[in-house]
Each structure stands twice: as C-alpha cells, then as structure tokens.
C-alpha cells in the first residue's frame, strides 16, 4: 500500500515533466522528400536527443508570412530555398542563425546563408534521351550542345520560368562562369540571354512548369533533350527510362532549413539543425534521394556507386555555377516579366 502511494506520488511528480517533454515541429513538402528527411534525420535525431519531432506539410512562404504576421507560428523548422528564401529574409520571416548557434564553417562556401542552414544540393542540368543519342555516337555534354541543333537535332524542353535558363543561355553563348551574373545585371547582358533563348524557341516543344514534365517528355520521346532537375532525371533512370545526364556543366542549388521568426521551440530547432548539418549525418540523406551533401567531409561516408548519381562531388562542382539566390531576390520580378514577354512573342 505504501509502495503504491509512493508510486502514485512519483507518477504525479513525473506527469508534468512528461507533459512538457521537449518537442518541436518540422514542416516540409511531404511525399518522398519528407520521407527521406524523416529516415535520414528526424527519426535518428529524436532517438539521440529525446526531442519529439511533430511533422507538418506545406511550408509555402506565403503561409509562413501569414503565421509570422499573425504571431501564430506553429513550425520550428521549415524547408525552402531559392529567391523565395531571400525575399522572406527581407520581410523578416526567418530567425538569424549565428555561427555560435550552428557551426557551418565546414560547409561549402557557396551554400552558406545567414538565415538558413543548407541541407542538400540539387542541380539543374541537361538530361537527354539515350535512344536519340546512344553511346555509339556523340552525346551532349555542355549547355552549348543544348543549343547546337545541327549536331544534336530534335526537340527540347525548358522551364517556363527564367531561373537557371538565362544562366544556361549565357554559358552556352560563351560567357565565363564568373561573369554570368555581372553580365545578366546589365540591360545588354539580359538581352543577350533572352536573344539566345529566343533563337532556340522553335525547337522547344514543351515549356515545363512541373519537374515531372521533362522526364515525361524525354520518356515518351516528345523531346530528346531537357533542362531539368537531377533528382527527377534520376527517378526516371531508376524506372528504366532511356535517360542520361550530362554532368560536365550544371547549375546547382542549395536546399535550406530555416527557423521561422517567433518559432515556439527555438532551442530544439537549433539542436536539430546542428544535428542535420554534421558531415556524417548530412551524408545520410543521399541514401534516400539523389541529392548531394553540403560539405566535402560528408563524402567519406558515401559509397562510390551512390556518389556517381549525386551533383555535389568535388569533381562535378568544378564546372558548376551556383544559383545566386540574392541576385534572384533582387531581379526576379523584372527578369520574369522580360522572360514571359519573350515567350509570348
């Protein structure tokens, strides 16, 4: 009886502790991507730290803004990237993450950001049909080859938004990597990129708006070459579609994790980000999706077969132009208008 009473008292004492057990909420895009994040990071992190991670989906920047504005933030870590991230930063939607909160000096310099911790690297590059261009003949290697319709005849597909396309056009036109954004910032440079795309227009069968479309079009033979995302091409290759990627030239992009301003469990969020960006942990995502790690030190834990499918190997990054998200936050609206005008001509 006494024992029972003590047990009850202990339970009563413990109950509030259990109720306030550490937890946090993570929001991403659902589907296979979030499943990979769960397996690679969330589950092991929970086990190691004892922090319970709730998941949610659909972290559109507009919804984050609405949450921050109405002070009803329920997410502690969200995923995102691109120009949208920097526009969000400008509107004050994300917490600043200082080096003493999360250590990132081992991360690739092109992937660092004051308001976000890089999680993975994916890439925009050329995918082509191995039926149209088999190994017995010439295969496209560079963006210049994408524009070379004499050497590589057949229809193409390009994104219906300008990000990565204007960069690829200038690279194909012979602008050195280091000068691409400098050139694009001038009227003449932007015109040069748009003219280059305009010249290819008759050969572009599909202007894609969803990442599945280039794979669909390559698989069906409607196009022979596509500018698209490596993860999607890889999924097509894994499904035995006749597709290969040209790794010699690419425009990588960084996926980021952010903490929305006013997140209820900031300390837990910081702990999670620290866990995720550690080289040996960061390497793990590549087991589940064809995205590369954000630090060179991670390659030690990735086997060679898998590395061949990933965009951020030191070798491949030599000829890669990182998407400049600050430049896009600054110029996105203007360039999109010019791009849409060119497309509608």
């Amino acid at each position: 009886m006494k024992k029972l009473l003590i047990a009850a008292a202990v339970a009563a004492l413990l109950a509030p502790v259990a109720a306030s057990a550490k937890e946090m909420t993570f929001a991403s895009w659902g589907g296979a991507y979030q499943e990979a994040i769960r397996k690679a990071w969330i589950t092991p992190f929970s086990k190691e730290s004892g922090i319970k991670v709730e998941e949610d989906t659909g972290p559109d920047t507009a919804k984050i803004k609405a949450m921050v504005d109405t002070k009803s933030v329920t997410w502690d870590v969200v995923t995102g990237g691109g120009g949208g991230l920097m526009r969000g930063v400008k509107l004050g939607l994300f917490e600043k993450i200082t080096p003493d909160m999360v250590k990132t000096d081992h991360v690739l310099p092109g992937a660092r950001n004051d308001y976000a911790i890089p999680s993975e690297i994916f890439s925009t590059l050329i995918g082509y049909s191995t039926k149209a261009f088999p190994t017995t003949g010439a295969q496209p290697k560079s963006f210049a080859d994408f524009w070379d319709t004499a050497k590589f005849p057949g229809k193409r597909t390009l994104p219906d938004a300008p990000e990565t396309v204007v960069e690829a056009a200038l690279l194909a036109d012979g602008v050195p990597m280091a000068d691409v954004y400098k050139t694009l910032s001038t009227e003449a440079g932007l015109k040069r990129a748009l003219d280059k795309i305009r010249a290819l227009k008759p050969q572009v069968a599909v202007w894609w708006s969803s990442g599945a479309q280039p794979v669909q079009a390559l698989g069906s033979g409607d196009v022979v070459m596509a500018l698209g995302w490596n993860g999607r091409f890889q999924a097509g290759i894994d499904s035995k579609l006749p597709i290969a990627m040209a790794w010699d030239q690419q425009i990588p992009q960084v996926g980021f994790f952010m903490i929305p301003k006013g997140a209820p469990n900031k300390a837990e969020a910081v702990a999670f980000l620290n866990y995720m960006v550690k080289p040996e942990n960061n390497a793990r995502l590549s087991e589940y999706v064809a995205y590369g790690p954000v630090t060179e030190q991670a390659w030690a834990s990735i086997d060679a077969g898998r590395a061949a499918t990933l965009p951020s190997t030191p070798e491949r990054l030599k000829n890669a132009l990182f998407l400049d998200i600050e430049w896009w936050a600054e110029n996105g609206a203007k360039v999109t208008e010019a791009y849409k005008t060119m497309l509608k001509e």
Partner: protein, 561 residues
C-alpha cells in the same frame, strides 16, 4: 417570353407575404461580410500602398505589356471554354433527359468523373493520350489519317481540351434540369404544326433551356478565369493565365501589393464584362424566360427520334467518349509498377493500391475530405437556397447588384481568399481544425447553389405558388409541397457543385489545414515538386469505383421501389 407569370414578376404582391426578403438574404450576406469581404478587402487594400496611398502597382500593370496580354488571354480562354462547354453539353443533356434511368445514371457518372480524379492525374492522363507519341496520335498514324503527329497539347487546343473536360458538368447539370422541365406537349404541338428538328431546337428548346444554360455558362466562365494548373501543364507559353501570375506573386515573389493589384484589375474587368454582356444581350431578359410547368417530363415524342434527335445522340456519344477517355487511361496507369507514369505500363502490380490501404494517411485524408464536403453541402445548400429565394422576391432595381455581390466569391482568385482567411481565422484557433477549411469552402460553394437555385426559381411557374397560397396553404406548406419539388433539380445540381467544389479544392486546404486536418487533394498535391506518387492515381481510381458502386446501388434500389 411566354405569357405565363413567373414568381419573379409577383415579387411584391401575393408572395410578398409569408416569406420576408431579409430572411433569405441576411444569412448569406452575413457570411459574405465576415468570411469573404473582410478578409479579401484587407488583402486587396495592399494594392493601393501599404500606408500612403499610391497607384504605383497599377502603373506597373500598365507599363509592362505582358500583364495586359495575359489578362486578354485569360478572358479569351475562359470565353472559348464556355462556348465549347455549352456546345458539348446540349447533345448530352438532351440524351440524358430522353433515356431511361439506367443510361441516365451512367451518363451522370461520366459527367462527374473528371472531378473524382485529381487535377494532376487528369492532366497527366490527357498528356499521355495527346502528346506527339501519345495514344491518339499513334492511332491516327496507324489508321493512315495523318502522316506526322498532330500537336494536341502544349498549345491552345491542349488547354481547351483539359479545361472543357472538367468544366462541362457545370453546364450539363442545369441544362439537364431545364430539359426535364420542358413540356412534351409544346414539342408535340410544334411537330404537329410541321416544325422540323432545327426549328424546334431554335424556337422552342433553345429559349426554354436558356435559364439553365446561362446559369451553367456563367459558372464555367467564372471558374475558367481562375484556372492555372491545367493551362500551365497542358498549354504553351502563349496560354499563361492571370491566376498563375497572382499565385506566383503571392507565394514565390512575396509581392502581395502587386498580387492585390492584379486581383483587383481581374475583379473589376470580370464584373464590367458581366455588366456589359448583360446590357448588350439582355442576360436578365434571357433568364426571365422559362416558366415551363413542372409537368410531364420531356421525353422522345410519340413518333420517336427525328433525324435531329439521332444526330444529337451521335454527338452525345462523341462527347461521352471525350469525357471518359482520360479515365480509361487512368485505370491501367494505376496498375503500373513503375513510379514513372506511362501507358501502357511495362509491367502490372497492385503496389499503389497496397500503398493506399497500408498507409493510414490516405484513408484519414479521404475521410476528412468527405466529412468536410458533407458539412459544406449542408451549410451552403441552406444558405444558397435562402439567398436565391430572397433575391427572387427583391425589387428588380437592386436585384442585379445583390446578385453580383453573391457570386463574387467565384471571381476572386482563391489564393487571395485563402490568405485573407488565414489572417482572419488564425487568432480564433480555427486554422488547422476542420472548421476553418469548412468555412472557406462554404464561401466558395454557396454561389454555385445560389446560381442553380436562382435558375430553377426562374423556370418555376409562379402561378402554382399563387394558386397554392390562394387555396389557403401557408407559405411553408406551399414551399414544401409545391415549390420545393419544382426547384429540387436545381437544388440537387447546386448540392453536387458544392460537394465537388469542396472535394476538389487544394488552395484553401493548403492554408487552413495542418497535417491532422489535411484533405485528400492537399495530400495528393504534396510532394509533387519532387515526384508524383502514383498512389494518387490509385486513390483516384478507388474514388471512381466507389462512386460508380454507390450510384449503381442507388439505381438498383430505386428500381425496386
């Protein structure tokens, strides 16, 4: 049109007593004020500067020609889709009204099928059918009808096919209801007097079905203006629509003032276009027509179908084939073993069905969607029917204005409403519960009920109402025994539209639900940036099967009784 008085004409006399106008108008007006006007205006206000008043956003709209051209494209496509929908609906609605219940139910299922498949599945199926190495082109080339593939998709024709396919039901159902209330004797009399099928169509059927068609066409037009997923996936760069630019500015560019300006211009342009159309073509007078007695339903005349009737049947068969084509493709696609969607699949498996049943999230989302849609139907049928009754009893002077206000939720881009509602509901804690998204859907769905019931009331013979009241029936008794049976097809069509509006919505759900309250379309939409999970195809097929079973069972039961 005819000499019969409609209930409309008697708004102030006998029917004035018994049912006060305010009782009809007030509930929906209140809902609109709180859940629509307040949130939407607070967002649209941003277009005029976030502080000091400025027209800078509108200046940008004028300075950059692409926005004008996109606005023009939007109205052009919406107009074409509306025309095509009306054209394709006539033969189908005629056949539905003149066949037995079994065939009719089958056709009804066909018409509604596009809604049970997610927009992503639907467009993918169309692309697989229509792309240059697609099924249709292969058939055409094998048959020697063409030597090189025809470009059906990634251009205007792709957009028109994809949009007409899913918007047609909005015309078919009201039109079917109009056909059902046609009087057989009118047609027989015309035939007896020697009128041919063309004359009968243009002089009798066309005028008498006008209210149904106008109601349906209006819904299609409004709906089409807000489309962007289908044009983005099935069109080319020339088919960019304004809703896409609004969504991009809200979500990607985070330029809400500019999105607000775009939305305001769209709103003003749409309302002016409607007003112009009404003045030019006398929309109201056209709608006033009808007045058919709810008597013997329209069937084939005693002499059987005329050549015109048979031509309509042939056309209806083609339309039915058009409706079902992508669905037929979806079933084998759902049995493919590769996560890459292809037709025909290389190998078959049930893996995506296993996935659906083994992962609790799919069943949970489906249950949630059905729950929300059911609530939405009940609430919006009540609100919409009351509003339609109220408006039909109003003084004609204010009627057009109130009518326009009541259908505004259809014109305002959904994303504007969704964001506005988030700001309104976040402090109340309703975001994330099923009530937040339900309220959002009620705002979207009620205008559909309002329009279809309005159309039904316009065709309802006011003399019946007067007779019942004159014989001493109280207003509620008259409504239950006389009016309700008369306008029931309109209410039913409105209820179906309300259901599918809720069941098909992604945008409101994106903003107002979380992982515990997410709906099926939201779940289907997740992950598409990274892959298309073929489980969504399996889910679509299951929903189609369940729909067919339910309607089939319903048919069996109704046959026995």
């Amino acid at each position: 049109m005819t000499g019969i008085a409609t209930s409309e004409g008697r708004s102030r006399s006998a029917v004035g007593r018994g049912f006060p106008v305010w009782l009809g108008l007030a509930p929906f007006a209140l809902v609109l004020a709180v859940l629509f006007a307040a949130p939407v205006l607070s967002l649209l206000r941003l277009g005029f500067g976030e502080g000091a008043f400025t027209l800078a956003q509108f200046q940008r709209l004028i300075d950059v020609p692409v926005y004008r051209s996109v606005l023009g494209t939007t109205f052009g496509i919406a107009g074409l889709v509306t025309g095509l929908s009306v054209l394709a609906s006539y033969p189908l609605a005629y056949v539905m009204a003149t066949v037995g219940p079994r065939t009719r139910n089958l056709l009804l299922i066909l018409v509604l099928l596009p809604f049970w498949t997610s927009a992503l599945v639907r467009t993918t199926a169309w692309i697989i059918l229509l792309q240059s190495n697609g099924v249709v082109n292969q058939l055409l080339m094998a048959g020697g009808l063409t030597s090189s593939p025809i470009a059906f998709v990634y251009n205007l024709s792709g957009v028109l096919i994809g949009m007409t396919h899913v918007l047609m039901p909005f015309v078919v159902l009201p039109l079917y209801a109009a056909f059902r209330s046609l009087e057989l004797s009118t047609v027989q009399a015309a035939e007896g007097l020697g009128a041919g099928p063309l004359t009968i169509f243009s002089r009798i059927i066309l005028p008498l079905t006008a209210p149904g068609v106008v109601a349906g066409a209006m819904i299609v037009f409004m709906n089409a203006i807000g489309f962007y997923l289908t044009p983005a996936l099935m069109g080319g760069p020339g088919q960019t629509m304004i809703a896409q630019m609004i969504a991009t500015n809200i979500n990607k560019e985070l330029d809400w003032p500019f999105a607000a300006a775009l939305a305001s211009v769209l709103l003003v342009a749409t309302v002016s276009l409607l007003a112009l159309f009404q003045r030019r073509f006398g929309l109201d007078r056209l709608i006033e027509g009808g007045g058919g007695k709810a008597g013997e339903p329209f069937t084939v005349t005693s002499r059987g179908r005329s050549w015109g009737g048979w031509a309509a049947v042939a056309a209806a068969v083609l339309v039915a084939a058009f409706l079902i084509a992508p669905i037929v493709i979806v079933f084998p696609m759902s049995l493919g073993s590769s996560p890459f969607l292809s037709f025909p699949p290389d190998s078959y498996s049930l893996v995506w069905y296993e996935n659906f049943f083994s992962t609790s999230k799919w069943m949970a989302a489906l249950t949630r969607s059905l729950q929300i849609a059911a609530l939405v139907v009940v609430i919006s049928v009540g609100l919409g029917t009351l509003a339609a009754l109220g408006v039909s009893r109003m003084r004609p002077r204010w009627r057009a204005l109130v009518e326009t206000l009541f259908i505004l939720p259809m014109i305002v881009p959904v994303i504007i409403l969704a964001v506005g509602l988030y700001y309104l509901l976040a402090p109340t804690g309703l975001v994330g519960s099923i009530w937040g998204v339900t309220l959002g859907h009620v705002v979207l769905a009620t205008p559909y009920v309002f329009i279809t019931v309005r159309a039904a009331l316009k065709s309802f013979d006011g003399n019946l109402e007067l007779a019942a009241l004159g014989l001493g029936a109280s207003w509620p008794t008259m409504f239950r025994r006389v009016m309700l049976p008369g306008i029931a097809p309109g209410i039913a069509a409105g209820a179906i539209f309300a259901f599918i509006t809720s069941f098909d919505d992604v945008v409101i759900a994106l903003f107002l639900t979380n992982i515990r309250s997410r709906t099926l379309p939201k779940l289907m939409y997740e992950g598409v940036a990274h892959e298309i999970d073929p489980t969504i195809i399996a889910a679509s097929c299951l929903i189609i099967l369940v729909t067919i079973l339910v309607l089939g069972a319903n048919l069996l039961v109704s046959k026995r009784t």
